[in-house]
């Protein structure tokens, strides 16, 4: 088996289109329309409550951090603020990108813009790349959001726990876009008429960073950057920790989310930060269901899914040995058993998945 080619314009991308893997029909658990409608129903209230709590906590922690600066006593408050800025904003970006966070559109769009800024992900570009991640989840050469490629770049993943590569890429992309340029992968999934909007956002962000840096220089203090910019690095670890569990170690090139996606039970704080995206098979199967209804959806379809990992720790115990083995043999992956109540995996949905399933 040749090495995987993850480029959007590479050999695997062409093969996925030729074999019908791209934009394919995917497996879904059957849910009657009436029930599905109730699960998809939108509401403002849960997201207003959580957003109030999120911004309230950010203001409180940043306030305490500033008050105690530069003593080490401020460190715990920066860590808490950082996780909300560099990780909770990832899940807000994601949910608002789907448009499912609030019922009211302007609220969605408003939080999406703020979260995109915090995560340094251009709101125009990422809207399109995430659409592709949903059409072609973990299809090599088609999905631009694969975190653990095969063989896994463990050093890269480790650096991202501090946001080093991601944020760096985000900032360089921002500068390139602000100069009016798109790279070839971006051009593959962003329609041409969206480019001016993408460039305008990048220019606004450059202005915000320039003002922050100017303030830091004028006051000879790191403090402005502790509030804007740096938390993308020192607070990134939680979203990388939870995000890596979504698909790592599972099959690629399949069209059944039960084979390439993982649901993990998590503690309430992580679930608040991650906005229930730990129910990840459920999210991929039914992206119309808002974050607040995912626990209900999980209860409804769990009999058709592999058992969830019982905790973050348990999920890492499962994932790390597989990634380790993939260093030597990238064909290695995990196929989880289905409960007897589930509809079995259909061979034709994973005939393109090469390799050696580990049971």
């Amino acid at each position: 088996m040749a090495q995987r080619d993850y480029a959007m314009s590479g050999a695997d991308a062409r093969r996925a289109v030729e074999t019908g893997l791209a934009a394919a029909e995917w497996y879904h658990t059957d849910i009657p329309r009436k029930e599905m409608k109730a699960l998809m129903a939108r509401a403002d209230q849960p997201a207003i409550r959580d957003t109030g709590l999120l911004f309230g906590c950010m203001a409180l922690f940043a306030g305490l951090g500033i008050a105690l600066w530069p003593s080490w006593g401020s460190a715990p408050f920066w860590l808490a603020y950082g996780v909300l800025y560099g990780s909770a904003m990832d899940s807000r970006w994601h949910e608002c990108g789907h448009g499912t966070a609030f019922r009211t559109r302007w609220m969605n769009d408003w939080l999406y813009q703020i979260a995109s800024f915090c995560m340094v992900r251009n709101p125009v570009q990422w809207r399109w790349s995430h659409a592709r991640h949903h059409t072609d989840t973990i299809i090599v050469g088609r999905d631009p959001e694969i975190q653990a490629m095969r063989p896994p770049a463990l050093g890269r993943i480790a650096l991202n726990f501090l946001g080093l590569l991601d944020a760096w890429q985000g900032w360089t992309k921002m500068l390139r876009n602000a100069a009016g340029r798109l790279d070839p992968d971006e051009a593959d999934y962003v329609p041409e008429h969206e480019a001016p909007r993408l460039i305008r956002v990048a220019r606004i962000w450059v202005a915000i960073y320039a003002a922050t840096i100017a303030l830091a220089l004028a006051t000879s203090s790191l403090l402005p950057l502790m509030v804007i910019g740096l938390p993308r690095l020192y607070g990134a670890w939680h979203h990388v920790m939870t995000g890596l569990l979504q698909h790592a170690g599972l099959a690629d090139n399949v069209t059944d989310h039960r084979l390439n996606t993982r649901t993990v039970y998590m503690n309430p704080v992580s679930r608040f930060i991650y906005w229930n995206m730990n129910y990840h098979i459920e999210h991929h199967m039914f992206p119309m269901v808002p974050f607040h209804a995912l626990p209900r959806l999980h209860d409804r379809i769990r009999a058709d899914l592999p058992a969830p990992s019982p905790s973050i720790l348990a999920a890492y115990r499962e994932v790390l040995p597989i990634l380790w083995r993939q260093l030597r043999n990238e064909e290695h992956f995990l196929t989880r058993a289905l409960p007897p109540t589930a509809r079995p995996y259909r061979a034709e949905l994973h005939r393109h998945a090469p390799g050696v399933p580990a049971e």
Binding site: G99, T100, P287, M288
Partner: protein
């Protein structure tokens, strides 16, 4: 274009839609919250996904795959990733049946 008897009006719940296939093509028929009926093409203009599995809210249909939204009265695309409008067709109700002109 001919008027086609598509379905009984009460087959569609208020604020919902159904899929209707005819002559090798697929359509979506909507019943708005104020009990008016509308018809559009049945496939999303982004990636040809059936809108019948989507969500109707007020006068908008949200595509089940990437959450693009359209105004089903005019077909206008309201939210990325859809950029192209949906084709719309006249619809009316007569004696409890929904007729569409396609």
């Amino acid at each position: 274009m001919p008027w086609i008897d598509a379905c009984a009006a009460d087959e569609i719940e208020p604020e919902d839609l159904i899929r209707f296939d005819h002559g090798g093509r697929t359509y979506a028929i909507y019943r708005s919250p104020d009990d008016a009926f509308y018809c559009t093409d049945g496939l999303c203009t982004h990636e040809q996904v059936h809108l019948a599995d989507g969500l109707v809210q007020d006068h908008e249909i949200e595509c089940p795959r990437h959450n693009a939204t359209f105004d089903y009265r005019t077909g206008q695309a309201l939210r990325a990733p859809a950029c192209t409008a949906l084709a719309t067709y006249p619809a009316r109700v007569e004696n409890g049946r929904v007729w569409i002109e396609i």
